[in-house]
Symmetry: C2
Subunit: 605 residues, 2 copies
Amino acid sequence: MSNALPNEQPEKIYLPRTSESESLKKIRHTTSHVMAMAVQKLFPEAQVTIGPWIENGFYYDFDKPEPFTEQDLKTIKKEMVKILKRKLPLIREEVSRKEAQRRIQEINEPYKLEILEDLEDPISIYSLGEDWWDLCAGPHVDNTGDINPKAIELETVAGAYWRGDENKQQLQRIYGTAWETPEQLAEYKRRKQEALKRDHRKLGKELGLFLFSDSVGPGLPLWTPKGTVLRSVLEDFLKQEQLKRGYLPVVTPHIGRVDLFKVSGHWQNYKEDMFPMMAEDEEAAALEQGFVLKPMNCPFHIQIYKNELRSYRELPMRLAEFGTVYRYEQSGQLGGLTRVRGFTVDDSHLFVTPEQLDQEFLNVVDLILSVFKSLQLKNFQARLSFRDPASDKYIGSDEAWDKAEGAIRRAVQTLGMNSFEALGEAAFYGPKLDFIFHDALDREWQLGTVQVDYNLPERFELEYVAEDGIRKRPIMIHRAPFGSLERLIGILIEEYAGDFPFWLAPVQVILIPVSAVQLPFIQEVAQKMRILGIRAEADASGERLGKSIRNAEKAKIPVMAVVGAKEVESNSLSIRTRAAGELGSIAVTEVLEKMTNAIANRENF
Amino acid sequence: MSNALPNEQPEKIYLPRTSESESLKKIRHTTSHVMAMAVQKLFPEAQVTIGPWIENGFYYDFDKPEPFTEQDLKTIKKEMVKILKRKLPLIREEVSRKEAQRRIQEINEPYKLEILEDLEDPISIYSLGEDWWDLCAGPHVDNTGDINPKAIELETVAGAYWRGDENKQQLQRIYGTAWETPEQLAEYKRRKQEALKRDHRKLGKELGLFLFSDSVGPGLPLWTPKGTVLRSVLEDFLKQEQLKRGYLPVVTPHIGRVDLFKVSGHWQNYKEDMFPMMAEDEEAAALEQGFVLKPMNCPFHIQIYKNELRSYRELPMRLAEFGTVYRYEQSGQLGGLTRVRGFTVDDSHLFVTPEQLDQEFLNVVDLILSVFKSLQLKNFQARLSFRDPASDKYIGSDEAWDKAEGAIRRAVQTLGMNSFEALGEAAFYGPKLDFIFHDALDREWQLGTVQVDYNLPERFELEYVAEDGIRKRPIMIHRAPFGSLERLIGILIEEYAGDFPFWLAPVQVILIPVSAVQLPFIQEVAQKMRILGIRAEADASGERLGKSIRNAEKAKIPVMAVVGAKEVESNSLSIRTRAAGELGSIAVTEVLEKMTNAIANRENF
């Protein structure tokens, strides 16, 4: 960026999400119909199923014996452009169920018949001119001519199951995108390209941070030495912050009896997301007498709280654990580090009196914000994840929910945070304040979370002796600034595009000798650095200088120190950093001091 | 100890284990027969089963409807003394199976009949005078008069099952002990008493280090904040040592597919010790398609090794993880921290070339010895745990086993270690060098282990590219200096009797004010200490001084600093340590410096 010429900075193009733009909703929904019409024109044997808009475009699922090829996509696109240019009107019609059935049978589309069964009256139909129609609730543009043919693109074909059920027919899903202007499409493609470069799965492999193994299982990352350093630095950083703020570290098992999760309500409300039970035999299995992997740490921290009768003097009690939990995500939904089956939550449960709730909640938000700042994550919103009052998937009384949601609203107001409410996004035991982070490519990621919980204290009958000697019920705050180490690292890799800030980088400095003569010197300097806690490597590969420099660049090591005869003589290092380029020759003592400071202050070097 | 008067130190009485003393074997075996004879005299309805010697005494299992009371034990003991005083000869007789059957039927002892079925010819019988006999292989003393009535004791009654099978009859087991001299018995009782005081379950509770919860499950400890500090200090200590020695930290999941453990051989050879499989449904269970909790970390570290083609330049590669593993111990065998179902192994797997094996093995032993030294554990032996050549519970070729056992023997010889060989104690994949530690009460504990393994590299087809470009097989060393954090902490609690050395203690210093006036001063000093990494607490309880001091003593905090007006004025602390008593008034700056040094050098304050 420092090399960018003035005035060459392109104007930033804002790309709305479909959910934010009525216009995009119409364009994308219509384009998906146009695509289906084009497909059926070219492949009359293809049967259509569903074709919704999604955040970045749309898709449509087809039942067709032969797989779509890359070439097919091009032909379909051409056909779509023709349809757009025909300026076909989109005509909405309401018909009786019987009439809808008749029309479907006429064109022999069995999937539509199934879809019809789930629809409520009135049944609406959209026609594209006179050639093609679909069951659809809309909305659509008025005319295919309203869609710019230069602002649409077909992207990929993927497998899908009818109704998402892997026991049902396998379908082919074509993904596409559509925008208001060709400029938007170009920006979208640029971001997609950039996202591909930043893909943490790709970078994670190139930088040697983690791996997956078929024999271990999907969604279960194994961390290499370099990735483990990343984890440890992040853990230690948060542990230090927590120590300052009076958190108490604990360690708890990864499994517990099923009964524990019955008391917590996980077994009843969260079982689908849990790994199967471990039972000795069928009888034990039938009686649900067995162990399960923990999907959350709360019931365990509660056991520690409950181990003694607590006094108000001990509250707020902030039990903290980097607790690894396991959730049985569908294997199809797993991807890199952001959706895994085993992950380490930077978890804490705060047991507080009602009087302490508001202040402790604010303290937690303050901690989270300071963590984000250290990680250079700037662009986020607060999502108030509340319960959907219409759903019965929650535990606890209305009163408890109202109180908890109230506490979250008060905190967000006090802090004047940029926020929005999301009904139905609460945990089953309580509402949450989630931090939604927008990355460099304007993608949304969920980071840190804080939850207020009146329900688990009730279910576990938690108590404390208040100042007046009466036993009272504490309130719990669940919180995780990172969310999980895995997810955070995945997001950081993408946000930094693999260029970790100095304090976080698995290898911070590489010392490269101009020739073998300087090897003893760089090994001595590397050793000095390591003693000071600087993660330094001496390049003893014997490669040519150019090759060594390229290797260091590929490994995205933040600081490179080239050492020739001059540097040895003057006891200095010729420093080049990824953040600021060539810094020239600097005395070793000065480098050591600056690096130590940069690490302590979590700054760049 | 520093207060003991000269010449009052009693001569240390050596207590041999039964397995080490032919004389004790005879005494204890005979005493168990004498007890059975006494029981049947007093309770003719009691039927006898088996009555072996054990390491500290003997027991005998009886089938008797009414439970034995404390009073019964006294009466039985009196009867036993009478039998001893009758100086009955022990007469050995060999009889035919048929004759044995006849005699058993005559006295109506159905259990003996069952025992007889398992015996091989010739059948030997021991009679006590003419009144009582038992099926027995001996050995025994010649005459009950050889046993000193003042050197025997009956201890407790416990439940037991016939043949250890909980589906069979419930029996009553009486435990007793017997020695050569009354002095030995007295020393035994003293040690038992002392062991009770040091019991880590009792002290762990009193010091608030860990807890068990019925809802979580047996053998699954939960670590309180204080216990977690202990764990962290031990972990950090070993991590530092490992960093210096070129170990590379990794992190791996707690579960893996069953298939992974089939390749490693755990599924075939270690399944009994593993938690039940997690399978989605019965079909998956039948096909063994599921996940299991890892009982060991090796297969996971192997996956990381295998992730890339390795060069000889990368070896030895020392992958290290504080890896929590789960083993399905019988719930009856669980006890405190020394026998648990979930524990954290300070694990490492070293992948080495054949040329590196001997030196790396020695380096590992050197690390283990230096760890023991820092922990002030002095009294240990090396147990060479080799395979039992007669058993088929091992994997791998004879050649591989011979090579691995050879490497262990060479290391022990090179180091001139006090050692012994134990056949049948190997892991199923390789032989081990185990460190057997004798504690202050002369009890044996197994600590650290090193294993040489030619078999898993074979099963997982591990390779490295040697200097000559040819792909070769590495050898693995498995090692764990602590064994496990849980076990080590259990043993340390008992060895130190809860008095942790300064650098390890969860709370290192407590600052106690003489009155509330000094509170601001001690809080300021405590804060200074914490910034330096000293675990300090300021006593703000408002209790009387005497009470506060007693609380600190009960909590076994190594350093107590009492602060009155004089101390505030002179900016000093009046120090009392558990290790060295009163140290008088010391300037705060000096205390801070000395404490920082003591922690860095892992010394007492």
